[in-house]
Every structure is written in C-alpha cells, then in structure tokens.
C-alpha cells in the first residue's frame, strides 16, 4: 500500500524494487528495459507529491523522453521517446520513480502476453500460465511484489483481464478521464489509460494523480477531478448492485460461480441490494466481432506512420515504396500484419457499410443497452473471466461459443461505452486468482471505488502478491 504512507527511505525502497524485478526477470520476463533511477531518487527526496519515492513501472507504449519506448514491436525496437507522455510527467511531478518499462502484446493488440516482442510473459502464480494482456508486464510486476503501482492501457480489457488473472486491482476510468497524449495508440475510440494496484485505496489515490484535462489530448474531459481517497467509503448499505446475468449464464465453471455467489451473499448481508440484469443476448454475442472490426480498422489507420522513414527500424530498398514495405514487413509480427489486413478489409469502400459502419451502429445499440442496464443501479458486476488464467499452450477456446463470446469478452462494453470499469480479486481457485469486474456510470469513479472497497473488505483479497521463487 502506498496511500496514506510516507516512504521514509526512498533510495532503499526503490533499489529493493529494482533488485526484485531484476531477479524475477529470468522467470517472468515482464520487463522490457530498466531505467536509470539515481536522478529520479534525488528529485523524489525533495518531493511532497502523492507518490513521493514510489517505485513504479510504465507499460512500454508510454513515451518517456530520452528513454527507449518500443510498443513491443520490432519496428520501434530502437525508438527513443522524443517527449514525455502527459501521464509520465504527472507521475514524475507526483514524486514517483519510474524503474522500467514493461512488456505488452505488440502495440497493445492481444490479450495473452504471448505476442510480445520480448517473448512470452509468465504468470507469477504458475509460470506455465498466461497472465493475460495486453498490459501483461505491468500486471505481473505488481502481482509479483516488485512494485505497488504500474501503468497499463485498456482497449478491450487489457488492464482488467490481466488484473483478474494475477489477483490485483486493475482500473480503466471513464473515457477522457486520463490524458492519452504520448501513448502509442491502438484504436483511438476505444483506448484508455489504465493502471494496476494491490488495493482499492491505492487505486483511488492513483486516479487523483493521473486524471484531469489536458489540452494536448482533445478527447480528455474538462470535468473536475475528485478527492477519491478522502471520500472513499466502503459501506455497502443501500448500494444497488446489478449482476449481468448473461455472463453468469455463459460461465460453465462451478468454482467461479461459487466464489461469485459467496461474494454476492456477503454483499447482501452487508446491506446491499442485488438486481439481476439481462441484456439482449444476440447483441451481446456480437461484442467481439464489433470490437475486432472497429479496433482493427482504427489500428490500421493509426499505424500507417510506422514506415521506417522518420523513426524506428529501417530496411533499405531501391525505392521509397520498397523501403517502407521492407521495413513494415520485417518490423511487424505476423499477428500484427494479420490484424492490419483484417482492418483494411473493413475499411475498403465496398465493405464499409457492411462491416465498419454496421459495427459502429451495433456499438451504439450495445451502449444504449448498457446505459439502460445501469440506469436504476449503482454498479453492474460480473466475474471478469469464466475461469482462471489459461495455460500458455492453451488455444482451445471455441470462438463461436457463448462462453467465449460473452463470458470472456464482456468487459469490452466498458470500452464501447467509455464507462469506468475495474477488476478486483474475488478469491482463488486451486491457488490461482480470479477477479470480479465492477462498472459504474460515466465519471462515477467514486461510486465504483466505494463499492469495490466494500467488496474488498468482504473478500479480504487485498495486497495479494504471488510467491516467485527467484
């Protein structure tokens, strides 16, 4: 925990974090690069900021001036940040000490941690398992105990799913709540900055540091940032908790449902009321294809500037076209090239009505359904996934089943809608953590944090770390 705790010996705390992350690296492979910390430690010693002296990690798609920022792709392998992202600056101003940049599925495109330029990232609870993605390295480093806070980004569920798989808190605030200036984009209408902590209190404090209007990101909100930590109240009496029943119906694992039902019973005993919410099943099953079409289309456009001419890796050619083609072919993994081709297919003139515009229309219907679902309740909840983290070798998911389409992908509703959404641990199954997802109305992060705290008090799943035998 770092909320309400003054770090007395900053140098010691930072160097311990660096040392632990380095020791764990051969097993977890969560870090892309370690940063020099001496100057940041000196500055932190003179800081009165809310994170003074706190060692932290940034996902390697967050720009850091003068420091390598790869986005986990070959084409940016040698890229040095030309400026600090707004959140990098905010975190430095708050006294945080950035110890390194963490691994991600390339450009944030992936949910397994197996598509990172630096290789597979391993779950600290079981090295043979995935830790989710795309913000996999940041999630793992918080769960392993190396750092208490790390930055991620969330376009589909890229903070909230890994948080579930490694037993920590993962927050994706309202769209526009945190500036995205200086983040290597994936899909602009879905991208959010998110972050990981090991407690709800830390999560509340962190949003105070990160949130706020930034004229450099014209999608950022002008709304005032609240005192989330000071106002935090975990009293569940009178709170209205909705359960997304479609997700519950799609989950086949009894142990997941048992953990969930146990928590619900405790919430009721603590004074909350519980309401079953059904959304249109046909529309919900379309979440994943809607996501793929919109995200891949936007990504295809966003990454057209990665061409090997002005920055990044270059493969020379006899013509400009050949140089770009050589650089892009070598610079992107097959998975990324595949996604770009799929995105380009949706963007083609003859397919735009049938695919992209159709997906954008279904997105509106889904968001309207979601708004209605939340209209008479405080939060909407569901297990963050149907099961614990899969094995690294597992490719068995039936991509047309309700279990896959709904139970494993419902959190993308938070990205379609922009509503604040977070995952906290709800317990363990055979020693492996699994989380619960909590979503609130736009800009009602305080309500979300309050109910999350109430639930955290009931589960006792706070400050959890995995034992990694280094």
């Amino acid at each position: 925990m770092f909320a309400n705790r003054k770090i007395e010996n900053i140098e010691q705390e930072v160097m311990e974090a660096v040392s632990l992350a380095r020791k764990q690296q051969p097993l977890l492979n969560a870090m892309v690069s370690f940063m020099e910390v001496d100057e940041a430690i000196s500055e932190a010693k003179n800081s009165n900021g809310k994170m003074a002296g706190l060692p932290i990690v940034l996902k390697d798609n967050v720009l850091t001036k003068g420091v390598r920022t790869t986005g986990s792709v070959q084409i940016l392998d040698n890229y040095i940040g030309a400026y600090d992202a707004t959140i990098t600056k905010k975190l430095k101003d708050a006294g945080a000490v950035i110890i390194g940049k963490s691994a991600l599925d390339g450009l944030g495109m992936g949910g397994t941690g197996t598509n990172c330029h630096t290789g597979f990232v391993h779950n600290p609870y079981d090295l043979n398992r995935m830790a989710g993605g795309s913000s996999v390295g940041s999630a793992v480093l918080v769960a392993s105990g190396a750092v208490a806070f790390a930055i991620g980004s969330d376009t589909g569920d890229s903070v909230r799913k890994p948080a579930s798989f490694v037993g920590i808190v993962g927050v994706k605030p309202t769209y526009g709540r945190i500036s995205r200036y200086g983040i290597i984009p994936y899909a602009s209408s879905l991208d959010h900055v998110g972050y990981f902590t090991r407690s709800v209190e830390d999560a509340a404090l962190a949003l105070e540091v990160l949130a706020g209007r930034d004229d450099k990101d014209m999608t950022s909100s002008t709304r005032e940032v609240e005192d989330y930590l000071a106002n935090l109240n975990g009293d569940l009496r009178g709170k209205k908790i909705g359960i997304l029943k479609n997700v519950i119906d799609a989950i086949k694992k009894d142990q997941t449902l048992a953990l969930f039902n146990e928590l619900i019973e405790k919430c009721v005993n603590a004074g909350a009321t519980v309401h079953m919410i059904n959304m249109d099943q046909t529309r919900l099953q379309a979440c994943l294809p809607v996501y793929y079409i919109i995200a891949n289309s936007e990504a295809t456009a966003n990454h057209s500037n990665l061409d090997g001419v002005r920055f990044g890796m270059q493969e020379w050619g006899d013509s400009l076209e050949e140089l770009m083609t050589n650089s892009r072919t070598k610079g992107f993994s097959f998975l990324l090239r595949k996604r770009f081709v799929i995105g380009s297919y949706s963007l083609a003139d003859e397919n735009q009505d049938l695919l992209l515009r159709k997906a954008q229309k279904v997105r509106r219907l889904l968001v309207e359904d979601y708004k209605t679902a939340l209209s008479d309740i405080d939060v909407l909840i569901a297990p963050a996934s149907g099961d614990v983290a899969p094995l690294l070798t597992d490719t068995s998911a039936d991509q047309l089943s309700a279990r896959y389409l709904i139970a494993e992908n419902h959190m993308v509703l938070g990205n379609f809608s922009g509503y604040p959404s977070m995952t906290i641990p709800m317990g363990k199954i055979d020693g492996l953590p699994i989380g619960i997802n909590i979503t609130a109305k736009p800009f009602e992060e305080q309500v979300m944090f309050d109910i999350a705290l109430g639930m955290e008090n009931l589960t006792g799943c706070k400050n959890m770390t995995a034992e990694v035998n280094v």
């Binding site: 526009g176 892009r328 081709v341």
Partner: protein, 98 residues
C-alpha cells in the same frame, strides 16, 4: 459476406505496404472463416435508423485554441530517431530516377 480469396489478401497487404508468405495468407483466410461466422451475429441485429457511434461521448471536449506556439519539437529531437539523416533532412531512396 463472401469468402475472401488469396488474391484479395495479397492485394490488401500490398496496399498496406506489407508482404505475406503463402502460408501466412492461408492462415489469414482461415481466420476470416471464423470472423465471417461471427459477423453473421452482427447481421442478425436490426440497425435500421441507427446512427454510427464513433466516440463514446458526444459532449464537446475540443475547441479552437489561441494561435500561440506553445509546443515545439526541436529539429535535433525530431531527427534524433531518424534511421538516416543528412544536413537536417530525412534520407530516402532516390525518387527521380536518372
């Protein structure tokens, strides 16, 4: 939707300035088969008279700012990452041939 063919996949890749091997193109076609089945789910949904949703919120957050220079990337910083640079310019293969 029609099943995509290899020729179309190669064409799309070329437009994106990407190359694919034969095996990679086959893999993409196989993925399209799953995607097209998922797209059938989309087509079951009536979207008559529904407007596209581009961004989550429609409340305005952008505005015209004063025309004041407040953020400048120096030439040195702009060229720092250039793979090949000469006298303040990015170097590319010769465009106008002899």
């Amino acid at each position: 939707m029609e099943r995509i063919n290899k020729q179309k996949v190669f064409k799309l890749a070329e437009q994106l300035m990407l190359r694919l091997s034969d095996e990679e193109a086959d893999n993409i076609i196989a993925e399209f088969d799953t995607l097209l089945k998922q797209l059938d789910l989309l087509n079951q949904i009536d979207t008559s008279n529904v407007e596209e949703m581009i961004y989550p919120f429609e409340e305005p957050t952008s505005f015209f700012r004063e025309d004041i220079i407040d953020q400048v990337l120096s030439i040195e910083d702009a060229l720092y990452n250039a793979p090949v640079e000469e006298e303040g310019y990015f170097v590319i293969p010769k465009v106008v041939k002899d």
